[in-house]
């Protein structure tokens, strides 16, 4: 039971207004009364939501509680964003995808920092990074870590020295490894793959999907520890880059690395990565359905192999901006020979859980709908208004799918 919060059951009329207000899912109405669970973090957000004043707090004043929860010590501490040098380097071997992700994470940090009234520090190692791009994307300052040893150890040591409010990175590629490694060395908690970050006072409350996106969790760092967060690309806000922005570049010399951690060998991504053959980005052509972030599905209503083939063209276009894209097909489309059997979605129990599923001319048999049930955002393009599939779609375009495909290919995405 939270010590400083309680529901006054004589005042509670069970209206439930507090339930959605709680960011930690700690409130529920049971048998006509609100119940406060163990998971309450005493953030105070629920207090003003209660029309009858039934949420009792030890401090009496809800706003004071919320403000105090971050602890005075973090005032003025900046939010760090780890950016791999290579991601934004002049040579940028990692290519457009990684660069966009790195900038996206800065964009998110920028909006959090604005809300909290603090600074954003872009942290990088080595001198590969294009600092001008970091400032343009929202960094107030750039720290370049310098020293002997591997990047995670350098980052962990720098965190110990500078005590930022939080350390953020992209949940992909080198950043994912470096941030996780640094968290391990710092003995800090890491919220990996967060797709939503809210602010409560100076506290960051990241949410992340679990169990294939079927549940969402809030993770709390033990008191006094600096949280590390890696971000799923879903969270990125569109970045407003401003090339006129500048700031200070600081070279942080790190001596002796975090604690007694051995540094026998260099972690991957630190120097060793560049030596390998063909280090440039390799675009995958055949992304399996269950690994794709975007799935384009085609069904009978497309009417012809030619119309279906437009899906592959759209997939190529989208993969340039949106990561891995796979093309799937209904049973009818496979039977018609428009798509290979590997593309079959219906009834194959392929566990697709893409961020986006765009269906073109799909009428939505139960077998098909079950196969794509875990998609985050669903678009249905069909001229058949009665299509079963429209019932599960977030966006419906009531037009002939082939025509919409042609239009989509005409616009720049």
């Amino acid at each position: 039971m939270p010590a400083n919060f309680r529901i006054l059951s004589e005042k509670c009329d069970g209206c439930g207004a507090c339930v959605p207000a709680c960011p930690f899912f700690a409130l529920e109405v049971v048998e006509g009364k609100a119940v406060l669970y163990e998971s309450c973090l005493e953030c105070g957000v629920c207090v003003p939501s209660c029309p009858t004043g039934a949420i009792w707090t030890a401090g009496g004043d809800s706003s004071a509680v919320a403000g105090a929860s971050g602890g005075g010590g973090s005032k003025g501490r900046s939010i760090w964003v780890y950016v791999p040098g290579a991601a934004l380097g002049a040579a940028a071997p990692a290519g457009a995808g990684a660069a966009a992700a790195a900038l996206g994470s800065l964009g998110l940090a920028r909006s959090v920092a604005d809300e909290q009234g603090t600074r954003v520090t872009a942290v990088t190692a080595g001198d590969g990074a294009d600092t001008a791009a970091l400032f343009a994307a929202g960094a107030d300052e750039v720290f370049v870590l310098e020293g002997e040893g591997a990047v995670p150890a350098l980052l962990a040591a720098a965190v110990a020295q500078e005590t930022p409010r939080a350390v953020i990175g992209v949940a992909a590629g080198e950043a994912r490894e470096v941030v996780a490694g640094a968290a391990a060395l710092a003995g800090a908690p890491l919220v990996a793959g967060a797709d939503e970050v809210e602010c409560f006072g100076e506290r960051l409350a990241p949410k992340r999907p679990l169990y294939g996106g079927r549940f969402r969790a809030k993770v709390r760092a033990a008191d006094g520890l600096i949280p590390f967060i890696t971000l799923d690309r879903h969270v990125f806000r569109s970045v407003r880059t401003d090339p006129r922005r500048t700031g200070q570049v600081r070279h942080l010399a790190i001596r002796g690395t975090a604690g007694s951690q051995p540094l026998a060998t260099a972690p991957a991504g630190a120097g060793t990565a560049t030596a390998a053959p063909g280090g440039a980005e390799v675009r995958r052509r055949n992304v399996p359905l269950d690994a794709a972030r975007i799935v384009l599905g085609g069904g009978a209503e497309l009417g012809s192999a030619e119309a279906f083939a437009l899906l592959y063209r759209l997939a190529d276009r989208l993969s340039a901006v949106g990561g891995d894209v796979a093309v799937g097909a209904t049973k009818e489309a496979v039977d018609a020979g428009w798509a290979p059997r590997e593309a079959l979605l219906d009834g194959t129990m392929v566990k697709t859980c893409p961020a986006l599923y765009m269906a073109f001319g799909v009428d939505g048999s139960p077998a098909h709908n079950a196969a794509v049930a875990l998609a985050r955002v669903v678009v249905s393009v069909t001229a058949k208004a009665d299509s079963q599939f429209c019932q599960v779609a977030d966006f419906i375009l009531p037009y002939a799918p082939g025509r919409v495909l042609e239009r989509l290919l005409e616009i720049t995405i």
Partner: protein, 383 residues
């Protein structure tokens, strides 16, 4: 009483489940259209040990108990029936005949390639004039020197047209018949005088073939008498007892799949402005299906358990065979009903399952024969 399924069988079950979902279900419709299981899938099943599961390791088997075998067929039965109709007659009937009735030398020679799926087996008992009345077979075997000469016709033999090894039950003493006059022979493809007749066109079970087998002065070497002369009928009855558990297990698995498809359909099909699952008429059908499936499942597991304990199972096996096959037919009928018109259409697996299920009440002893066995035992034992 402990209903926990042993860990190794949970692993086995999940493996088969994954195999069904990933490898078999996607090709079921194609098999239905082409009436042929792709050879590469048969090879994969062989490599995974599907063809030898209940036999000891020293013969290349999987050393799986009857319970494990039942759980295996329950999972396999969820897919198109042709797959279990490839495996079960080979394992439960043909290979079991060698294991139960064969000499040590025969086991050493035939079991390893049969367990490995290199040699496919068939079990040939039924004849034009001997179906339910199996003791009435007319295929004769006569000793000529060091060979036996077989003459006669076997009907509707599953895997008969593709088998490498056929266990043929023939009359060696007309007067003794079931009481020592029937002998089983191991006939290999290519033995002189053995050929495959017509391959049957059936109501269902596409992808599984039954055929007429013709024996015209077919020469069988002495060492291919399965076990001893005159022991054939006893072997056949023992083999069929065990086989019934497998049949019931497959019926349970198939029915469970139909129930799941029906639930899914009932939840998504909207009529009168709401999913049809909201109607009590549909709910009761689903409840009835689930009750019958569960009863058949428990009977199957219990009979398998008794078999593994070495207890006599003749009555239990007859009961579970008849009960599970009738359950499967009830469930298939309700599944079609819940699906409405789509349940009658070739494009959807419900229609196929409805046709495939019907055979369960006929082969491996008709349900009337099962009731005869049950009643005979009841009247003899008195309870």
């Amino acid at each position: 009483m402990d209903f926990t399924i042993p860990q190794e069988y949970e692993i086995l079950r999940k493996m088969v489940h994954d195999f069904v979902v990933e490898r078999l279900d996607p090709i079921s419709q194609k098999v239905e259209e082409e009436d042929e299981i792709p050879p590469e899938i048969i090879k994969e099943m062989a490599e995974l040990g599907f063809f030898g599961l209940p036999f000891p390791e020293e013969y290349g088997g999987g050393a799986v108990s009857k319970l494990g075998y039942a759980l295996f067929l329950e999972e396999l039965g969820a897919s198109s029936a042709c797959f279990s109709n490839l495996i079960a007659p080979h394992v439960s009937l043909a290979t079991s005949s060698v294991f139960i009735g064969g000499t040590e030398a025969q086991k050493q020679k035939y079991l390893p390639p049969m367990c490995a799926g290199e040699k496919l087996g068939a079990f040939a008992l039924t004849e034009p004039n001997a179906g339910s009345d199996a003791a009435n077979i007319e295929t004769r075997a006569e000793k000529k020197g060091d060979k036996w000469i077989l003459n006669g016709t076997k009907n509707w033999i599953t895997n008969g047209s593709i088998a490498d090894v056929v266990i043929v039950y023939a009359l060696t003493d007309k007067n003794l018949r079931a009481r020592g006059g029937i002998t089983a022979f191991i006939v290999e493809k290519g033995f002189p005088g053995f050929r495959v007749g017509t391959v049957d066109v059936k109501m269902g079970l596409r992808g599984s073939h039954t055929a007429q087998l013709l024996f015209e002065n077919c020469e069988v070497p002495e060492e291919n008498v399965l076990g001893e002369v005159g022991m054939g009928f006893l072997t056949a009855m023992k083999v069929l007892d065990g086989g019934r558990i497998g049949l019931a297990a497959g019926a349970v698995g198939g029915a469970q799949r139909l129930l799941e498809l029906s639930i899914q359909w009932a939840n998504t099909r909207v009529q009168f402005g709401q999913p049809i699952a909201n109607n009590q008429a549909i709910q009761w059908m689903l409840a009835d299906m689930a009750m019958e499936i569960e009863a058949a499942r428990l009977m199957t597991y219990k009979t398998a358990w008794k078999y593994d304990q070495g207890l006599k199972i003749t009555r239990d096996a007859a009961m579970v065979k008849a009960f599970a096959s009738e359950m499967a037919c009830h469930v298939a009928d309700k599944a079609v009903q819940i699906h409405g018109g789509i349940g009658y259409m070739r494009e959807y697996p419900i229609e196929r399952a409805y046709r495939d299920t019907r055979i369960l009440k006929i082969y491996e002893g008709t349900n009337e024969i099962q009731r005869m066995i049950i009643a005979r035992d009841l009247l003899k034992v008195g309870h």
